[in-house]
Amino acid sequence: MINLKVVSPQKVIFEKEVEMAVLPGAEGDFAAMPNHSPFISSLRPGQMVIMSANKVDESFFVSGGLVMLKEKVCEVLVDQIESLSDVNNSNFQQSKTFQELEGNETALVTFEQVVNNPPYK
């Protein structure tokens, strides 16, 4: 198990033990698992998922950020994050992230894609 810690500039969003987390790295998605080599990467807008037993447990949209991966700890510094279980196509325009990302076209397009057709289901 690896300790996944998701932090926004305002607060710690959650911290928990997970089997595996898949993150949208700047140069491609990667999976954070225990004993990964120490690694720092920036994130592109995309889907972050928490998985156990090859199934998606939870799914989020992140608008960008940084990740620092150590042996047993994965720290994700996100700009904006929203749980995809809270957003569907009908309330997409009202979602918190949508309003915060206003003006940032590329991130918004990705957000819509992730909501409608997430790469990990």
Binding site: P9, Q10, F39, I40, S41, E75
Partner: protein, 293 residues
């Protein structure tokens, strides 16, 4: 001899002042707690970010291609100072301390041959610096009352990035009241450009140097990280300043409440004495009148 009616009015007016100040104290105390919580919860992000930055900057320390925005320009001519004041008054020496401190700093810079530009945060600073002949580039008001701290920090960050790229400024510092304890707040400077020394904590960088891999490469990461770092530093200073403001208001309102109490005691004493004196005087008049008959 003081007029009884007048005394009574004064006592009741001081009493209502005391009510106001003690209410303000309560409000400040509860706001202080919220502000402290906010500052506390934003610390995790800031700490992690500065850790990443220091391991990155440490890693590239000896390479000459570090961006100017991190190391500062060699011949810096123009400094920018961001001053964090409050939006409201009645908080003791909170703002005046800050402005006095800023004045010294500015004249120091001018002695070194640098010119100074200013960005003000909070209504008090903008109205104060309007009257001086200093170059105020921008004002940001009213950020604590409607929780716009992060948004405003972002705007300030964009502003300084833009100014730096256009060569309009060479150095950036923030001035804010650091929250030491409820009774002490300390005007503090923090340098953003060049990156202040404490960020590059030697031991941390040495330890982390060997281990981390970076993706994409370091310079691209720095490009993302530097503005993020500005944002968190500014955000942190704004939050810290708001906690200090509430603490300062709480102490000064506590003092005011106590002073009002003392004043009421004094006035009540005079009032009672005067009233007694009137009664005695009337009695004497009646008695001497009766004796004369």
């Amino acid at each position: 001899m003081p007029n009884l009616k007048e005394l009574k009015n004064r006592i009741s007016s001081v009493k209502s002042t005391r009510k106001i100040t003690s209410a303000m104290k309560m409000v400040a105390a509860s706001k202080l707690r919220r502000a402290q919580e906010l500052a506390e919860s934003s610390r995790v992000y800031a700490d992690s970010l500065s850790f990443i930055l220091s391991s990155l900057a440490g890693n590239t320390k000896n390479s000459p291609d570090l961006p100017e925005i991190l190391t500062g320009r060699e011949n810096s001519k123009i400094s920018l100072l961001i001053i964090n004041s409050s939006d409201r008054g009645l908080c003791g020496g909170f703002n005046s301390n800050l402005f006095r401190n800023a004045k010294n700093w500015i004249s120091e810079q001018q002695e070194k041959g640098k010119s100074v530009k200013i960005i003000t945060v909070g209504k008090k600073a903008s109205s104060f610096y309007k009257k001086t002949d200093l170059d105020v580039i921008a004002n940001f008001d009213d950020l604590n009352s409607n929780n716009k701290q992060l948004q405003v920090s972002e705007e300030i960050k964009n502003k300084i990035m833009e100014l730096f790229e256009n060569n309009e400024i060479d150095e950036v510092s923030i001035l804010f009241n650091k929250f030491v304890s409820v009774i002490t707040q300390e005007p503090t400077y923090q340098s953003l450009i060049p990156l202040s020394k404490e960020e590059e904590d030697e031991e941390v960088t040495d330890k982390s140097n060997a281990v981390f891999e970076f993706e994409p490469d370091k310079n691209e990461l720095l490009e993302y990280l530097v503005p993020r770092n500005f944002l968190t530093q500014i955000y942190r200073s704004v939050l810290e300043s708001s906690a200090s403001e509430h603490a300062a208001r709480m102490t000064s309102m506590d003092n005011a409440t106590r002073n009002a109490g003392d004043m009421i005691d004094g006035l009540t004493l005079t009032y009672n004495r005067t009233r007694q004196a009137f009664i005695t005087k009337e009695l004497i008049e009646i008695i001497s009148g009766a004796e004369a008959v």
